[in-house]
């Protein structure tokens, strides 16, 4: 499967990829995006099976990216991996069609819990 990891921090993209592996999902093709705009373009070009996106990014935020994807009729599974996990953010994410919101700092167990139903354990 193809997974887009969108985060403006290279450090956090590395950590997300590492945590995917630790959660038992290391065999997938990972495509990295530095912001929501790049993520939006990559979803169109590469048709991934899942998007894991930060929320707060320059150029285009994660939630703006998700809204743009849904507005153009793209139903790619989309989850947030973000430093903000307030009830308001979770509600906003769900309203836009996100499947989950993983708050930083996270663990491999949190990733497995969110991803196993989508990618298989």
């Amino acid at each position: 499967m193809k997974i887009i990891v969108a985060d403006d921090s290279k450090v956090m993209r590395r950590i997300v990829v590492r945590t995917l592996r630790q959660a038992g999902h290391g065999g997938h093709e990972v495509i990295e995006a530095e912001n929501g705009r790049e993520c939006l373009d990559l979803v169109t070009d590469r048709t991934p099976d899942l998007v894991l996106s930060d929320w707060n990014m320059p150029e285009m935020t994660g939630i703006e990216c998700l809204d743009a994807l849904r507005a153009q009729g793209t139903e790619v599974p989309f989850g947030f991996v973000t430093s903000e996990g307030s009830p308001e953010m979770r509600e906003r994410a769900a309203r836009s069609g996100a499947l989950f919101l993983i708050a930083k700092p996270f663990t491999a167990e949190t990733f497995a819990e969110a991803l196993d139903p989508l990618l298989g354990s």
Binding site: I15, R18, K104, P105
Partner: protein
Amino acid sequence: MSIHPAPLDPGVDPTVAASAPTSADLEALLVETWESYLSDGGPAIPWPTAPVDDETVGWSASVCFDGTWRCLVALEMQGTTAEAATRELLALDGDEEITDEDISDAVGELVNILGGAVKSIVAATSSLSLPVVAAGRVALPRHSTRLCDVAVRWHGRPVRVHLHAVGSTADTGEHTGHTGLTGEVP
């Protein structure tokens, strides 16, 4: 970089200070963040008596909250500490090259995580800025008030986090966010 004092601002809403995280909250968030991503370098141990030496702040970063809760979270560490943290976050070997851009990214992401965690325990509506990183100590906005200051020992050296209330735009006549800060690394 020069040190900017944090003068008390009579315009700061006293409820801001009342609703802010405590030092214990801040310390727990700092320890949790280090445990999550930097445990290979040993535990981060609370260090209430950590020395404060302005000359040894090699890298720092901050994020701002704007809204009904207007605050700034700043993270400071020595240069060798920032380099060690970056190496661990990027899983680099000791002989692999590390750039200032890597360190800036790592320190900025750490303060971003801390800022998000701080926001999660505050019952107020505020937006979180993107992090600003400085080689040296980040300057504070004028009219800010220090609310908390905690430190942990990691690799034998202090890692310090400050929380500041920031006066409103109406009070200060200036923007919040990071427009009052200097020393940004692109």
